[in-house]
Subunit: 429 residues, 2 copies
């Protein structure tokens, strides 16, 4: 348990650095970083780490290096421009427990800019809210890890264990960024992922599967010179209710899950994207549905895939055209198991104390319908993956925003956690 | 009526030139010419016209020059690379009736190449069929106009009236290419459009309207942190059956139409393209349906537009979300009135005689569910617009193909029509 005066000094240092922290977060938001376009913000992060004296490791993702590891997800883009950055702090003498801070810089697409009150990559502050794509999910949390460290230093202390600051890509689509950190050998006694799931301890998260349903039609001239052909878009529309019906069936299974039993709606089956046809006056030749489904922790991904495939197959068999032209399923991203935080008593205790010291209230737990990269640490590296972060509204939506008051508090909690977990000593100088 | 020996000589000349005609048609098919990419094939056509001694007029389409003319359709691309070509043959002394041959070089997209038996822009002959995108619709017919002319010359005759060979763009989406020919002043006593509607006289064609339905959703994270949001794709799917229902209502009106009364299915409402969403794990922010509808001749386009808009509005009003977030309709292409060939007795008589001389059977008529550029001549230039062409299968589909036997016969009919309509004299030399 951290000395009260030490804690007070660190909390005070977070406050003193907070204006700069907000400016830094705005700088991050200002750099668009949708998938495959993260290089600029990663250069920015590498510079920020180097200026703190960290050893900076910046490398391009390599599918061949990770494709046989558990947790790998299919890749639908080139990783030519996909770089991870890890900055390592090493103490003069190691005494405490090592720590990984992990956050992702990739953000999801913005949708039409005219639906935003102000442009998504022009960070705007209004009251306690900072607006922008990625402001909440999750540039604020990732920036907070650096400023938590700064606060410990500014308060006159030096951590006494290694700390790895991981700035990763690919969280929104595969998780292969964090997987690549594991492959590269990064390990610690605890991993801390400040995703904006409220300042609560995430006890459990769902898994995810992404899949595409490719439907082929029998195209011809829209005027129907001879027959009407078969429109792939209409056939795909006909399949969708069958796929969507899985949501209710899967949610019903929460009754058997000790953690999700009382969750209102753990599983969502989302039609995120559709494409079909090429020409207004042609009967559509092809259509593709892009679907994201949640998976309860403990469920086997292969079982869920079998259910998806059987459902699409059965729906196709009930259609005269599709029974002879079966849709093709392709997995194009997330293939993530659910994750329950277990065997993490030490880390939980430190987080609970740190949180209580900042909030004056006990730490609560969260069971979430989302997924995070924390699963990699827990499932594949025997490392507690702590998820705890600021309040964010409308992630993936218009006018995404993060609550700066919560960010300030979460940064304090992270700084106290860091100091307590790693240990600190009075700085030289 | 054409002298029997003259006719026989011309028919013979078509046969002699037919191998070359097929090679020329293959050369045209080999040059991909989807919308906005027609420049290369237009250069090829201009060269072919120049080599025949025609005066060649090649110009870029100019929206400002045509946008206030009747028949203009909204444009969704830049015309930066959209060129028309007109080659003019002028007799030494004019005696006969002038003629426009009109055909389009633009072709519709191919769909996935792996669904074609051989690649769509590698023209392949198998038996009497020539395969390739645009082979039937309508490069064969357009090439045929040049070779009909060649046959008349090769038989030792010179036409005695001006002939305008129009190679236009934009037929598949707006008709603005042919409209631009009118705007530029091209007129004749008859226009002949060898669209592949079988070797029959097209008596009537439908009109067309293209429209887009833009739907906006309430996007957010697919995990449904707070609520499930509103998925624009699912909302668009819900609108489609309401729009599609117009097809049956409009087809029922054929009972009141003297020409379409017995047509099995004149009106098709086609969902040619759909786009929606940007990210598999985001609730889709937007979705767009691209729709083509046929319009019976005589119907007012403004009335049809009103019906479309009212139907979408009503469907939206019945939906709690869409009633507050009404879909937006945009007209992005065809805005074409239907057309009935009338007051064309002279041209019809010449076509009937020419056809009978080739086929040994009377000319039949066709009432079509498609539209052609012939409407511009009939509706806006007081010029009979004759449509008559070869047999094509699977236009806009995979393995589009044109019947070379029918092409040979149609070329003969066109050559005889040309000679009879324009008049011929023995060539000098």
């Amino acid at each position: 348990m951290l000395d009260k005066n030490v804690a007070a000094a660190i909390i005070d240092a977070v406050d003193r650095g907070f204006d700069q922290q907000v400016r830094f977060t705005q700088d991050m938001v200002r750099i668009p970083s949708t998938r495959g376009e993260e290089q600029r913000v990663q250069d920015f992060m590498a510079d920020a780490m180097a200026s703190r004296g960290f050893a900076v490791d910046q490398w391009r993702l390599d599918v061949d290096a990770i494709k046989d590891l558990p947790g790998f997800a299919p890749v639908s883009i080139s990783y030519e421009n996909s770089y991870n950055v890890v900055g390592t702090y090493r103490p003069a003498v190691r005494r405490g427990r090592s720590l990984i801070f992990n956050g992702h810089v990739d953000v999801v697409p913005t949708g039409p800019w005219d639906r935003w009150t102000t442009p998504p990559f022009e960070p705007r502050i209004d009251g306690k809210w900072l607006y922008g794509r990625g402001a909440g999910d999750m540039k604020a949390g990732l920036a907070g890890t650096l400023f938590a460290f700064d606060a410990v230093r500014a308060a006159g202390f030096a951590p006494t264990a290694p700390i790895y600051f991981q700035s990763v890509v690919e969280e929104e689509c595969t998780g292969n960024g964090t997987l690549a950190c594991l492959q590269r050998g990064y390990r610690a006694d605890c991993a801390f992922v400040p995703e904006p799931l409220e300042p609560k301890l995430m006890r459990a998260e769902v898994g995810l599967i992404w899949f595409q349903v490719h439907v082929e039609g029998d195209p011809q001239h829209a005027s129907g010179f001879v027959s009407s052909g078969t429109n792939a878009i209409e056939k795909a529309m006909g399949l969708w209710p069958h796929i969507k019906a899985l949501e209710a069936e899967w949610n019903a299974r929460k009754a058997d899950h000790p953690l999700y039993r009382n969750h209102p709606h753990p599983i969502r089956v989302n039609l995120g994207e559709i494409t079909g046809g090429e020409w207004t006056s042609s009967v559509a030749a092809t259509a593709t549905l892009n679907v994201r489904v949640g998976v309860l922790p403990g469920a086997r991904l292969s079982d869920i895939r079998d259910e998806i495939e059987a459902r699409v197959r059965q729906a196709a068999l009930d259609d005269p055209f599709l029974s002879n032209n079966p849709p093709r399923i392709e997995y194009h991203g997330h293939m993530a198991e659910g994750y329950v935080l277990e065997d993490a008593d030490e880390a939980e205790a430190v987080l609970a104390e740190s949180h209580a010291a900042v909030f004056g209230a006990p730490l609560q737990e969260e069971i979430t319908s989302a997924a995070t990269d924390a699963r990699f640490f827990g499932l594949y590296a025997d490392t507690p993956g702590i998820v705890y972060g600021p309040i964010c509204e409308r992630p993936h939506g218009f006018d995404e925003r993060v609550d700066l008051d919560s960010l300030r508090a979460v940064t304090k909690t992270m700084a106290l956690f860091l100091a307590d977990w790693c240990g600190v000593e009075k700085s030289q100088a």
